[in-house]
């Protein structure tokens, strides 16, 4: 496994964080953004959440519902009084905002699930390290919690050979549109030490998610998970990502969305399967979680933001598989109401 250097106790990251108020700027007041704001306010560990969204009416409604400690912001300008920036705007808009935050010297938490954008965000690594800032890429339900569970579960292995992640469900309308596009986009898998492009909608696999979701047919799609996982697992041989889809989803994937997406999808789930070696024994471990995807993503992004504010995230641009204190972050996530599960059954074979 690859480790990012932890911030030293009393080191530069910690000192810089202590000098700031615990003020967070949140870009995006959609389904995920609203959950991030609620989680941060209810944590009692953030003084103020400033919400910025092109749709000021939506942002104002969210602020009204949050009460004290939330305020409306405009534009993209940031200054050093901000403790952290959370970007929950639609995919494709997050890199510009992340770069602005780095220029202003503010740590960033992003939630993009778009492959091209995740590539661009990861390419900010040198800038982030130079500025001594954490830029967390894809801190959502999937990617996000999936990456964190993969890293956490990998500690039980001597060697992780395969990681397979899958998801069911969508969050808000932007997530639903991305889900629709992903099914007709080319996916990227890691196989035998090299990247392999795969046709979206191919590779049907029946995956079992935590109850009550159960078994769902999952397909390859334009998902960024492999990009976030591979750099953190030296020697991993296969990394794949799939999403659940119905026959109608697959049939209509190449077309524009035929109707407006729902304000929010129903219950969703994620699944992380690790295959590897413990001593001479080969082992399979499966983790999962069920939650409405926007709720899960909001809780995950909020938990990461709290760790960023505490100076517990290392500098650099990386996904949650790059976090060293996975147990600490999972405990924070559990305190925010999302508790992952693990499948316990037959999991070893020689």
């Amino acid at each position: 496994m690859v480790s990012h250097p932890k911030p030293a106790a009393g080191g530069s990251l910690g000192v810089r964080t202590l000098n700031k108020t615990r003020r967070v700027v949140l870009f995006g007041a959609g389904a995920t953004g609203a959950r991030v704001a609620r989680q941060l306010r209810s944590s009692g560990r953030v003084d103020c959440v400033e919400i910025r969204d092109p749709d000021e009416m939506t942002a104002a409604r969210l602020i009204d519902s949050l009460g004290d400690g939330a305020e409306l912001g405009v534009g993209r300008t940031l200054d050093e009084s901000v403790g952290a920036v959370v970007i929950a705007s639609p995919g494709g808009t997050q890199t510009v905002l992340a770069r602005r935050a780095i220029d202003a010297g503010v740590p960033v938490v992003t939630t993009s699930n778009k492959t091209a954008e995740v590539r661009r965000l990861l390419s900010l690594d040198q800038e982030a390290r130079f500025s001594d800032l954490p830029v967390i890429v894809g801190a959502g339900f999937m990617p996000g919690l999936t990456c964190l569970l993969a890293k956490h579960g990998a500690r039980q292995f001597d060697e992780v050979e395969e990681i397979h992640v899958a998801k069911v469900g969508t969050g808000g309308p932007a997530c639903a549109r991305q889900h629709h596009r992903a099914l007709s986009s080319r996916g990227v898998d890691w196989r035998d030490g090299r990247w392999a492009e795969r046709t979206g909608g191919s590779g049907r696999e029946l995956a079992w998610f935590p109850d009550p979701v159960g078994g769902r047919d999952c397909y390859r799609a334009g998902l960024p998970d492999a990009l976030l996982l591979v750099p953190e697992f030296a020697g991993v041989q296969r990394v794949t990502a799939r999403q659940a889809a119905t026959r109608r989803d697959r049939l209509t994937a190449p077309l524009p969305m035929l109707r407006r997406p729902h304000p929010e999808g129903g219950i969703g789930a994620i699944r992380v399967e690790l295959r590897g070696r413990v001593g001479r024994e080969r082992r399979v471990t499966v983790f999962g979680a069920i939650e409405r995807p926007a709720v899960g993503a909001g809780a995950m992004a909020a938990a990461v933001t709290l760790h960023v504010l505490d100076g517990r995230m290392a500098p650099g641009a990386y996904g949650l598989a790059g976090v060293d204190d996975t147990a600490g972050l999972l405990r924070t996530l559990a305190s925010r109401g999302v508790k992952p599960v693990r499948f316990e059954g037959m999991s070893t074979f020689v």
Partner: protein, 50 residues
């Protein structure tokens, strides 16, 4: 020549029809997979998060 082409078309149609029939039987009768027979999902906690 005409008879040969007609035979080819007829055989192709029969092959396609047989394929559709087999696919339909599998689709209708197939179980779609076997759920896990042992074990279950357990919430992470305690020593899992140390």
């Amino acid at each position: 020549m005409g008879g040969g082409l007609l035979t080819l078309v007829r055989r192709a149609l029969v092959a396609i029809g047989a394929g559709i029939a087999v696919a339909a039987v599998i689709r209708v009768r197939g179980s779609g997979g076997v759920p896990p027979q042992t074990g279950g999902w357990r919430e992470l906690g305690g020593t899992d998060l140390e």
